[in-house]
């Protein structure tokens, strides 16, 4: 288990990170400049925090001024965003780079085994520049994994790749990790879909702090704050003016709109939110709760869906409709409509 609690000032940026991670893939999600890379660098020992503690499986890697293990001592696997394969070495030499203090034939055996795992046996004498992005990624992974690390850090592993091959490479990466590694994996990304597919648990980072962590479904589907909602792509967040528990439901007032929510355990309610594809838009007034009249302000046509911006009183609501043809037929800018916020889809946010 990895236990991290570190602080670091970097120019005007403050990193103040605290989390535990268990074996399995933990996603670190956040906007650029939120401290994702700085966190990974601190864990690898490339960067020294100002204070705090890092423990990995009972080993203390860092403890304020007292202990600081160098990157060489930590046994970390680090997959850089650009893979950082040594351009002057062949695939085979790259993979073998981290092996030391063993006999030549044992070394070769291990390298062979890894070449096989990443299915690049026939490429072993090539230089990295002659490989595709996906192949480079696998070589970089093998180069890290061959040293049998305790902790694996993946820094935006797919950002350097073309969109159309990302999906299959995700599966490849997941497969190789599942087959060969049983420790803690941290995956930095800013792609929500990728995080959802790759990770077991997820933590959200904002301005150098962990703002939410937990099971991937909980975090991505139920953001706990306005910032978290922004990071996980929940587009509609409304500020709560007042709220009260009433029988089996919660009555929430946002700018004069009264929403009914299912009763749930909340201490404080600062915002309510809903995903743009959970909002329904109709020409008639529905009988469900939370149905308000609105006016279409703006329509954006996407490849797979239509995005509408609808004015509901003083609220501006984003609605995404996947059913293209119907949406196309139905709405024009300026149309009057009814907008329904299904009770079970509304998310309560404490911050």
């Amino acid at each position: 288990m990895l236990d991290v609690n570190i602080k670091k000032s970097y120019n005007s940026f403050q990193l103040n990170i605290e989390f535990q991670a268990n074996p399995g893939i933990t996603g670190i999600l956040g906007p650029s400049g939120c401290g994702k890379s700085l966190t990974l660098q601190s864990l690898a020992g490339i960067m020294k925090p100002d204070k705090g503690k890092i423990t990995m499986n009972q080993q203390t890697w860092y403890d304020s001024g007292r202990t600081f293990w160098k990157p060489q001592q930590r046994k970390v696997g680090y997959l850089f965003q650009n893979y950082a394969l040594f351009p002057h070495l062949t695939v085979e030499q790259n993979i073998a780079y981290g092996l030391k203090g063993m006999l030549k034939h044992e070394k070769n055996q291990r390298v062979e085994k890894w070449l096989k795992t990443i299915q690049l046996e026939t490429y072993k004498d090539r230089h990295p520049s002659k490989l595709s992005g996906g192949q480079q990624q696998r070589v970089a992974l093998a180069r890290s994994m061959i040293t049998e690390p305790q902790l694996l850090l993946l820094d935006e592993p797919f950002s350097a790749l073309d969109q159309h091959i990302r999906h299959s490479l995700e599966e490849d990466l997941r497969r190789i990790i599942d087959e060969t590694f049983h420790g803690v994996v941290l995956l930095v990304t800013h792609n929500i879909e990728e995080a959802f597919r790759m990770c077991n648990s997820i933590m959200l980072l904002n301005e150098g702090e962990v703002i939410q962590k937990g099971d991937r479904r909980d975090v991505l589907k139920i953001p706990a704050s306005k910032k978290a909602a922004e990071i996980v792509g929940c587009e509609n967040v409304f500020k709560v003016s007042s709220w009260e528990k009433e029988g089996l439901s919660i009555k929430v007032n946002t700018h004069g709109h009264i929403f009914q929510l299912k009763k749930q355990k909340v201490e404080n309610l600062a915002h309510i939110g809903i995903r743009s594809d959970d909002v329904r838009i109709t020409t008639w007034k529905g009988t469900d709760d939370n149905c308000f009249p609105g006016e279409i302000l703006h329509i954006t046509e996407g490849v797979k869906s239509f995005k509408h911006t609808v004015r509901v009183g003083s609220l501006s609501v984003h609605i995404e409709e996947v059913n293209q043809e119907e949406a196309n037929l139905r709405w024009k800018v300026g149309d009057r409509c009814y907008v329904t916020f299904p009770q079970e889809k509304l998310i309560c946010m404490e911050k």
């Binding site: 990157p71 970390v76 002057h88 030391k100 180069r143 890290s144």
Partner: protein, 223 residues
């Protein structure tokens, strides 16, 4: 025109080659240090190292004379304990050539080291290699072009030095008279034929050497 005395040519080659090798041995670690360090001291060192490029060689020669002459503390120390004199000896010529040429070695290698992506160094550290090991297995190969460019410039500058060498090593025929000085000497003596011959030899030899150093650069594995 009788036999041409080729001693100046061989002395020049010997001096500039020795100076270049010393420049590599001394210059690379300095370049490495300057690239890594962000302290004010390294800025000062960097500035001082650039000075020989800017100062006239005669000024440098003068400084060396003051610093290493037989009456200077260093000069006396060397003479007393090692029986070594610098002034008016080939050793002096080597030191003069080294001082005027080493800035080129340091500047080019420093730039080459700086252009290495930090991820390469970090990867190597994370993979468990020591700093020294990384220097030889990653930094040197990746900075190779810049280093070779530095070697070329260093050698060229060392071979061509006139002023600093003349100041400290003098122009004793068959002892410290290097090629550039011999050419000047021939010209002063009114021996145009000898001067022409020496100039042509010098040009031809320089071209040949530079060609081979350039070939060295091409041997870099394409990254």
């Amino acid at each position: 025109m009788g036999e041409i005395n080729l001693f100046p040519l061989f002395l020049s080659l010997r001096v500039s080659l020795t100076a270049t090798i010393l420049a590599i041995i001394i210059g690379l670690p300095i370049a490495y240090y300057l690239n890594r360090s962000k302290s004010r001291l390294s800025d000062i060192v960097d500035t001082i190292i650039t000075l020989p490029i800017v100062l006239p060689p005669t000024v440098l020669g003068y400084y060396l004379l003051v610093l290493l002459g037989r009456n200077s503390p260093i000069g006396r120390f060397l003479e007393e304990y090692f029986g070594m004199t610098i002034v008016f000896t080939p050793t002096g010529a080597v030191i003069a050539a080294l001082v005027v040429s080493i800035p080129f070695m340091i500047k080019s290698s420093k730039t080459a080291f700086a252009s290495i992506q930090p991820e390469f160094i970090h990867s190597a550290e994370i993979l468990g290699r020591t700093k020294l090991n990384i220097f030889f297995t990653i930094m040197m190969p990746l900075a190779w072009r810049g280093i070779v460019a530095g070697i070329t410039l260093t050698f060229a500058r060392a071979l061509g030095d006139f002023g600093a060498t003349l100041m400290i090593a003098g122009s004793i025929p068959n002892e410290t008279m290097t090629m550039p000085i011999a050419i000047y000497d021939a010209l002063l003596a009114g021996d145009r034929a000898l001067a022409n011959t020496l100039v042509l030899i010098m040009t031809f030899v320089s071209l040949t050497i530079l060609y081979f150093i350039n070939r060295l650069e091409k041997r870099v594995i394409q990254g």
